[in-house]
């Protein structure tokens, strides 16, 4: 196993720790491996000697549980009826909500504590834990009856309320049901995951925003932060008015991407068999890639400052194929086939 692989495996198993703590662990092992390698050991031998990343992660997580004020997991087997409220302590730094077949809505409240509101059905099982600043709410369907019924309980959902004073990490996942979030400010790392359903985010302000679904569309509006990645397939991605200082990465398949008014250092829009449309991109590095469909974009800036690479076949292309000369600080790449490429530049305002 290489060092990189080892550290990835390790990081992947530190879920329950805060992002800051995860970073510390990875930095520690990375430094240790480098030091031992520099002192004449082979990377492979060092990693072998350290032991399995699973075991190391387990020990570290167990140690955290012990060190923190531990609240025993509370399990509720709810009786019928009535919305319940599960609140977290004020010291919480990270919120993890995972659910199944239930839609989740995340919203901001002016004050109070982090709360989960949920009206469970008889076969739902709910577990709430709070360890070392991490509040975890897990809802599972006890018998895993995937029910078509589930699809019809649209009123039935989980609401996560986050007070404006909260500025930590948020991880929300569900499946077969939609995920929505609005007006959240000052968050650090956020992750929203579902399957077979759509994700709608509006007015989010967070350092990293990770959005992932499949067979469901993603809509982003008025979001900002440092890095944003969106991944789906067979459904389109729509983004409007988003600004991320370092990077925006949208990825889908068999569906179009439309990204209007996007500002970032690096913008990557990739799909297949569908078009990419972007009305106003402002970025240093722009990558637009699809096939069998057109690319239409408006870029803010001077065309001469972009090193341009473009390719298509069987279609018109208004960009030069390869155009570079010294002093260009920006890059634009546009690739498709069987369709046209049309990129226009407008002066930066």
């Amino acid at each position: 196993m290489t060092k990189e692989h080892f550290l990835q495996e390790l990081a992947a198993r530190l879920h329950q720790l805060s992002a800051e703590e995860q970073e510390k662990v990875v930095a520690y092992y990375s430094e240790m491996i480098s030091d031992r390698v520099e002192n004449g050991n082979s990377e492979e031998a060092v990693i072998q000697d350290l032991g399995a990343p699973e075991t190391i992660a387990q020990q570290i997580c167990a140690d955290h549980d012990k060190a923190a004020e531990t609240m025993p997991p509370q399990t509720f087997s709810p009786e019928a009826g009535g919305e319940r409220c599960y609140a977290a302590a004020d010291s919480v730094q990270k919120i993890v909500v995972s659910a199944q077949n239930v839609h989740v809505n995340v919203r901001s409240v002016p004050s109070g504590s982090v709360r989960v509101l949920f009206d469970p059905l008889p076969n739902d099982k709910v577990t709430v834990t709070e360890n070392g600043g991490v509040f975890t709410f897990t809802q599972t369907m006890q018998f895993h009856l995937f029910s078509w019924f589930g699809l019809f309980r649209s009123h039935y959902g989980i609401t996560l309320e986050i007070p404006e004073s909260f500025s930590g990490d948020v991880c929300v996942s569900t499946c077969n049901a939609r995920l929505t979030a609005e007006h959240l400010r000052q968050l650090k790392s956020t992750e929203f995951v579902t399957d077979n359903a759509r994700i709608v985010m509006s007015g989010l302000e967070c350092e990293t925003l990770r959005v992932r679904t499949s067979n469901g569309k993603v809509e982003l509006e008025n979001c900002s932060g440092t890095v944003c990645t969106v991944k789906t397939n067979n459904a389109r991605i729509t983004a409007l008015n988003c600004s991320f200082s370092e990077g925006v990465d949208f990825h889908t398949e068999n569906a179009s991407i439309s990204a209007d008014r996007i500002i970032s250092d690096t913008v990557t829009l990739k799909t297949t068999n569908a078009s990419i449309n972007s009305d106003l991109l402002k970025a240093g590095t722009i990558t637009l890639k699809t096939n069998n469909a057109s690319i239409n974009a408006t870029v803010a800036g001077d065309a001469r400052s972009y090193a341009i690479h473009s390719r298509t076949s069987n279609g018109q292309n208004n960009l030069p194929a390869d155009w570079t000369f010294p002093g260009q600080t920006k890059q634009l790449s546009a690739e498709t086939n069987n369709a046209h490429i049309s990129v226009t530049f407008i002066p930066e305002t």
Partner: protein, 116 residues
């Protein structure tokens, strides 16, 4: 050695090593290994605890194009080493006492005789 006890002892050894001056993970391990066996995975939680309890503080320095995290001992850490040494006098007495109790080859029978 009992695992909890070993952890406590390593903690003191780490602090003792840091009394010489700030040091980083790999060097702490090599220094402490001279007296007690220690691995990376044992050291991590110990350093973390020392950091949260204020016994050590950390700072980073560039080295070979990467950052190295240094640990520096603080007053609570120095106090802890002091307390350990103060305790050692007491512990020595206890050891001497335990050693001096004469061996009885059949302690169980002795108790039975007394109760008769």
């Amino acid at each position: 050695m009992d695992i909890q006890r070993k952890k406590g002892v390593i903690e003191i050894c780490v602090l003792a090593v840091l009394k010489r001056g700030p040091s980083y993970g790999y060097r702490i391990i090599s220094d402490v290994s001279a007296c007690i066996e220690i691995s990376e995975s044992t050291l991590y939680p110990i350093l973390r605890r020392l950091e949260t309890s204020g016994c050590v503080t950390t700072f980073s320095e560039e080295y070979n194009g990467r950052t190295r995290k240094y640990y520096r001992i603080e007053q609570p850490g120095i106090d802890k080493v002091r307390a350990f040494l103060d305790e050692s006098e007491e512990m020595r007495k206890i050891y001497t006492f335990v050693e001096q109790v004469p061996d009885n080859e059949h302690p169980a029978e002795y108790v039975e005789e007394k109760t008769k």
